[in-house]
Subunit: 340 residues, 2 copies
């Protein structure tokens, strides 16, 4: 494999090299990379904007996270925030800081993942910044999306009796991370034993190559449903429910038996002696959508496999609780949970 | 002085603490901090967007750059890019990565500079991300601005015979940096000798507390001038002229005698035995505006003290050159320059 030192390119040369095949896909992108700013056309839609900072050693570990996956996931994490506003992402900017240990080829891999996510979600890469770093890899992504004023969904609109819904299933990404961490220790301890990971494919993919739920946003639109509140699940169900309830000034009840957990997640959880529910409530990086809908919208979604109704909104005085399979009420906490 | 460990706040608590006094100033900001995304209203203007990544040890040295100044300058660097599109900045997002060596009070200082720049330029802080960092301080800022479609100025519109203009004066920030670097060495070598820096006030302020030239954009608008091309001078005049000429597919001639250099810059340059012109051409961080105008606009600007006409655009075949005071032609290079 060819290795090219970063020093063979200047800053501008490197940006140009990494982005030379970037094509503009959205007509709203009037000018992409190459000026002081990107230019986006006028619009009768509202603009939403979100940004994320990812640091090596804090948010990712390159010993088990391939660079292409990392690039993909870094974009997905931002697009997920845009979808969580019921908006359509159209542009991103990507800034990276890289230390001398990275080759040009390594950055090409990173950008191949970034571009793959952009292509899949029809998003234009319109700018960014590239810098030397003294230590490791730094990725800062900003995503911009559009939504009509009557369709934008914030966290503060949940009303008493609204139904609480989640897309897909929860807790898998956290178990995927546990497996990767365990295999890393084994690899280090044994001096390089290659693990047999195929039976964990599902949870590993949920950790390494998560998806942003564009399909759910499209499905809701086609059913003419505008959620009353929405958030993406990046920090665990508990923390996200608390955000919605506190901003909407309401409480909630969710039911353990209704929480969607994949059988692969349950099996992996068993192996680690972790309660799958803990992984759901306090794990993270599932990038599913958590949203509330009016009870009158229930019929429209009840047959959809991709959406589960897990509970309902109640008054703030009733608090935030999980009703266990045995009927106990457990108070939801941002980190950890305790029996009432 | 009180010192509060970052660990006393969680991620959300820290963001809330640092941004609790942020007020929304622009009616285009419908929703700021506190949801998955910020929301900006519909507009019949175009949107411009730019982003910068600043890393401790690469872009700044906290041993001589006060945190408040750093916050201010980090915002200014981005706003300068927005003005360079002839646009008005309206929103920024700020992401920071901080290691455990920083206290909450240190971050408050950083944010006081960020907020000062926002207030001065009527810009809303609408979002961001806060993360732990293994090493030092990381600042990633994205700025968004608005401009009407017929007023946006890119780098690619310079035409033969257009006049080349710069705002303010050049080269000061580079000399300011030289002084700070020298004083740091002396401080280290002598174990703490306090330098007498007051005679360098001007160049130090240009380095530590630069300004983005909002006033020039307003002045051009009031004179009904739309530059044909524009860029902000962050990397030295040479490099910025090359950007404009290469994107506009033209050449240029600039005249040494017309380049505005402050007397304080000349004095500091003498002390360091640096040719002031080198500081202008290859220094950086002046954050002045470099732009081209039609020759028919000359009368409108000729009496303005804040704008100097330094040369003119010629054909690409004629190349990019500096005409020295003695009449020699010197080819402009991105880094360094050589006699023809």
């Amino acid at each position: 494999m060819t290795t090219t030192k970063l020093s063979e390119y200047g800053e501008f040369g490197l940006i140009e090299h990494l982005t030379k095949d970037v094509l503009i896909k959205n007509k709203s992108t009037l000018k992409g990379i190459g000026d002081d700013c990107a230019i986006l056309e006028t619009s009768d839609l509202q603009t939403v904007i979100t940004t994320d900072l990812l640091l090596e050693g804090i948010h990712f570990d390159l010993s088990y996270c391939p660079l292409k996956h990392l690039g993909y996931k870094a974009v997905i994490a931002n697009l997920s925030d845009v979808y969580a506003m019921n908006a359509t992402p159209e542009q991103i900017t990507v800034s990276i800081g890289v230390s001398a240990k990275f080759t040009v080829e390594a950055l090409e891999l990173l950008y191949s993942g970034i571009k793959l996510a952009c292509n899949k979600h029809n998003v234009d890469l319109v700018g960014g910044d590239t810098s030397a770093s003294l230590t490791g890899l730094i990725i800062s992504i900003t995503a911009i999306g559009k939504v009509s004023a009557d369709k934008v969904v914030k966290r503060d609109g949940a009303k008493i009796n609204d139904l609480i819904c989640v897309s897909g299933n929860l807790g898998a990404a956290y178990l995927g991370l546990q497996i990767l961490e365990r295999e890393k220790s084994i690899y280090t301890a044994t001096g390089g034993a290659q693990p047999e990971l195929s039976k964990y494919d599902y949870v590993l993919e949920r950790q390494l190559k998560p998806e942003a739920r564009k399909d759910i946003i499209s499905e809701l639109a086609s059913l003419n449903i505008v959620p009353t509140a929405m958030i993406d699940i990046s920090d665990g169900l508990s923390s996200e429910l608390i955000h919605i309830c506190s901003q909407s000034q309401v409480g909630c009840k969710i039911y353990e038996e209704r929480i969607p957990i994949a059988s692969e997640t349950e099996e992996a959880a068993k192996e680690f002696d972790i309660e799958p529910l803990i992984s759901v409530l306090n794990g993270g990086e599932d990038y599913e959508l958590l949203f509330t809908i009016k009870i009158s919208d229930y019929e429209k979604i009840q047959t959809l496999e991709s959406i589960s109704v897990i509970g309902n909104i109640c008054s703030q005085e009733e608090g935030l609780s999980l009703v266990s399979k045995s009927g106990n009420f457990i108070e939801l906490k941002a980190q950890g949970w305790k029996a009432l």
